[in-house]
């Protein structure tokens, strides 16, 4: 009897599970259009890109299109400019991300305190993030950094800095500055949210136990901010690795190839050389590299910042 009852129970559970599964499937139906849309706008273009990357296809020579096998990939891996662009992409991503994270942390800590006009300050500090990147780039290029009429040269002229061609003599630094300026508010907002979610009781308890300000920051605030910093680094890297507007508007990738990053080089290959085959192959290579790096970077970062790692270090 007992066995039978058990069996009956099992059957009941099994049928309940099947019912659940059916219900779940029904519940997912409304998501289908979104899924289809995502496939149409991301996966089909990617497949097309792979198809184009195997062709010798130049818009300038529309009648000579033919299958080229892996020729485009050979071209890319033997192309010194592609390697330069890859290195530039790393520099122009890592440096702005870290700088804006540090600056963002500093400003967030200041704004977390009670200061007069905190709301106004916060709005002002966020504004670089709200300005259209192209407009901001033009302001940097002409209003601030221009050799003859730029404000920076004017402000520095009493100190003997005069007619400095910032954009061409310090191209990488210029782009890094603009990107950092633009992304600091983003980091600040994320970290400020983290700071404001820290419970006051815990901090008060720490103070009662005799912890100093620095100790509290190192042992409590920073570990608490870990997730927020991770999020900032990941999102920031995803956006900044595609930096295009500032480079296109301010330096056009130059002088030489000093500020040519992968997105800009891809643009040049596709829309100036009109070599669709090579540009597509480059796109495919970049996607592969990004997936590999993203996987490793995410793992390393979360290892670095995990509670244990943090405690081990501090």
């Amino acid at each position: 009897m007992a066995v039978l009852a058990d069996r009956r129970g099992d059957a009941a559970i099994a049928s309940a599970r099947a019912r659940d599964r059916r219900r779940n499937r029904r519940r997912r139906i409304p998501l289908l259009p979104a899924l289809l849309f995502t496939i149409v706008v991301t996966q089909i273009p990617f497949l097309l890109t792979i198809y184009y990357s195997l062709q010798s296809y130049s818009l300038y020579n529309p009648f000579a299109r033919h299958f080229a096998g892996l020729h485009n990939y050979t071209l890319i891996f033997t192309d010194p400019i592609f390697r330069t662009a890859l290195l530039n992409t790393v520099i122009l991503t890592v440096v702005p991300v870290l700088l804006s994270l540090l600056l963002g942390l500093g400003i967030a800590l200041l704004l977390d305190r009670k200061v007069l006009g905190r709301g106004l300050l916060r709005t002002l500090i966020v504004s670089p993030f709200l300005v259209m990147p192209a407009a901001a780039a033009l302001v940097w290029k002409f209003t601030l950094l221009d050799t003859q009429f730029g404000l920076i040269n004017w402000v520095l002229s009493p100190f003997g800095v005069n007619h400095t061609d910032w954009i061409n003599n310090h191209a990488k630094e210029t782009i890094i500055t603009v990107l950092t300026w633009q992304w600091t508010p983003f980091m600040m907002l994320i970290l400020l949210a983290g700071l404001q979610s820290q419970s006051g009781d815990v901090l008060e308890a720490a103070r009662v136990d005799g912890a100093g300000g620095w100790q509290i920051f190192r042992r409590m605030t920073l570990p608490h901010l870990r997730q927020y910093m991770e999020l900032g680094i990941v999102l920031g890297s995803i956006y900044i690795v595609q930096a295009f507007d500032a480079i296109f508007m301010i330096t056009s990738g130059g002088p030489g190839q000093q500020t040519t990053n992968i997105p800009y080089y891809l643009y040049e290959t596709a829309f100036r050389s009109f070599d669709i085959g090579r540009a597509s192959a480059m796109g495919v290579v970049v996607v592969v590299i990004t997936i590999v790096i993203a996987t490793f970077a995410l793992r390393t970062i979360s290892g670095l910042f995990s509670e244990q790692g943090m405690e081990g270090r501090l």
Binding site: L59, F63, D165, F244
Partner: protein, 444 residues
């Protein structure tokens, strides 16, 4: 990605534009015209509502104005992919042969033949020839230009200098160094340094030609590291460093025109059309300018030849409306109209003989009218330098790959001007870009 997003946005906007045009009163058409942001093109946009739209209520003209480099990217992308975003595009002698061969633009001769008032033979011959393939006109010149030296007569006189009738580059360099006064914010000469084959390579290539250098010899061997090419490039870069405008790496036509008008440069070697900007009424230095032919070394002439001309995209759906617009914008009547509205000195020059026989133009532009015409007539586009060349073009190499190759080389030149690398380094890299392109032409 940003570029792709931008392209999608632009395409979206274009789609909006075309749908709005079909939605309006029957027969009304909108044509989209892509132009370079040079002063004469800004002028025609101001004159279009009264000068054109008033008499052609069925044709709505929408302008897209871009700087030279962006315009090239956008327009080439559009015609090559058959995007149909633009109906009328502004191009020049470099684009016409390839584009005509690829059937990206339409032959205008048949339109012009039907249009008696549009006097094709009045178009200045070297300019017209540079825009024709197989005797058929593919783009109508809005203006035509060569290059020459513009200088401040008053400043030269003050410094006790006289401009020779046919100056050499060495003479010009010596004068530029005397006129250069960085303490007073006055540069001896303004020369283009901005990246872009149509930007810094244009004047530099004319210098290379007259110094005896060339890009390719008759069997397509690249010669960017030849002694003559290197000597010319060193000369150009050193002249900018010694007596050029500060921050030259960002300077091109519009920036130099501004520097001249703000009295920050004493001489300017650039397009002849520059005179119509800086020597026009309203310019603070109007009337103070003298003009000399493009400076030379080993050749007799060294001016370039260019024209910003209007062509009809083959994928356009409003070709008749597009021709109606082009035949107005490049007509004698437009030049008359612009002369009356804006003053004769600033009308689009170098496109029509009738402009140069017009008494009002001769009076207003007397200082630079004849020098411009002489320079244009003196250009030999198939043999501008000392040695023969297998390609057409003075300040460019007339092959499709040059858009990419020229941009690469011009990036290196900007780096050399900014002192980021030596001229020898820049040219060694450039030679590396140029050799494979030459190889392709050898086998092809």
């Amino acid at each position: 990605m940003a570029a792709a997003a931008a392209a999608v946005t632009v395409a979206g906007l274009a789609a909006c534009a075309s749908s709005s045009s079909s939605g309006q009163a029957s027969g009304q058409q909108t044509i989209t015209v892509a132009v370079v942001n040079n002063p004469q093109m800004i002028d025609i946009q101001k004159l279009t509502p009264k000068g054109f739209s008033a008499s052609h209520p069925n044709i709505k003209v929408k302008y897209v104005t871009l700087d030279e480099n962006t315009l090239r990217d956008q327009v080439t992308k559009d015609v090559a992919a058959g995007g149909g975003q633009f109906d009328v595009v502004m191009i020049g002698p470099y684009e016409v042969p390839t584009w005509a061969k690829n059937h990206w633009i339409d032959d205008l001769s048949s339109f012009a033949a039907k249009d008696a008032a549009y006097d094709v033979n009045d178009l200045i011959k070297p300019i017209r020839d540079s825009l024709s393939v197989g005797g058929k006109l593919y783009a109508s010149p809005f203006y035509g230009e060569s290059s020459f030296l513009m200088y401040r007569k008053d400043l030269l006189a003050k410094a006790g200098l006289t401009m020779p009738a046919h100056p050499t580059w060495d003479q010009v360099a010596a004068m530029a160094k005397k006129l250069n006064e960085p303490g007073k914010g006055m540069a001896g000469i303004c020369l283009r340094g901005k990246t872009g084959w149509g930007e810094n390579l244009a004047p530099l290539d004319t210098v290379v030609n007259t110094f005896g250098g060339q890009w390719y010899d008759m069997s397509w061997n690249a010669h960017l590291t030849s002694p003559a090419f290197e000597k010319a490039t060193n000369f150009y870069v050193n002249l900018i460093k010694a007596a050029g405008e500060p921050g030259a790496g960002n300077f091109s036509f519009n920036e130099c025109a501004n520097a001249m008008m703000q009295q920050k440069a004493a001489m300017w070697y650039d397009a002849t059309v520059g005179a119509s900007v800086i020597d026009a009424p309203g310019s603070p230095i109007a009337g103070k300018l003298g003009y000399a032919p493009a400076p030379v070394e080993l050749t007799k002439n060294s001016g370039w030849l260019w024209s910003w001309a209007l062509a009809i995209e083959s994928s356009s759906k409003h070709k008749d409306a597009a021709w109606t617009y082009i035949s107005w914008a490049t007509s004698k009547q437009y030049i008359q109209y612009a002369g009356k509205q804006l003053g004769w000195a600033s009308v689009p020059p170098g496109s029509r003989y009738s402009t140069y026989s017009n008494p009002s133009y001769k009076k207003a532009a007397g200082a630079f009218a004849t020098p411009t015409l002489n320079e244009i007539n003196g250009v030999n586009v198939s043999h501008p330098g000392v040695s023969p060349q297998p390609y057409v073009g003075v300040q460019y190499v007339g092959i499709p790959e040059f858009e990419d190759l020229g941009t690469r080389v011009s990036q290196e030149i900007t780096a050399a001007i900014a002192g980021q690398e030596t001229v020898a380094q820049a040219l060694t890299k450039s030679q590396g870009y140029a050799v494979p392109v030459g190889q392709a032409h050898k086998s092809g």
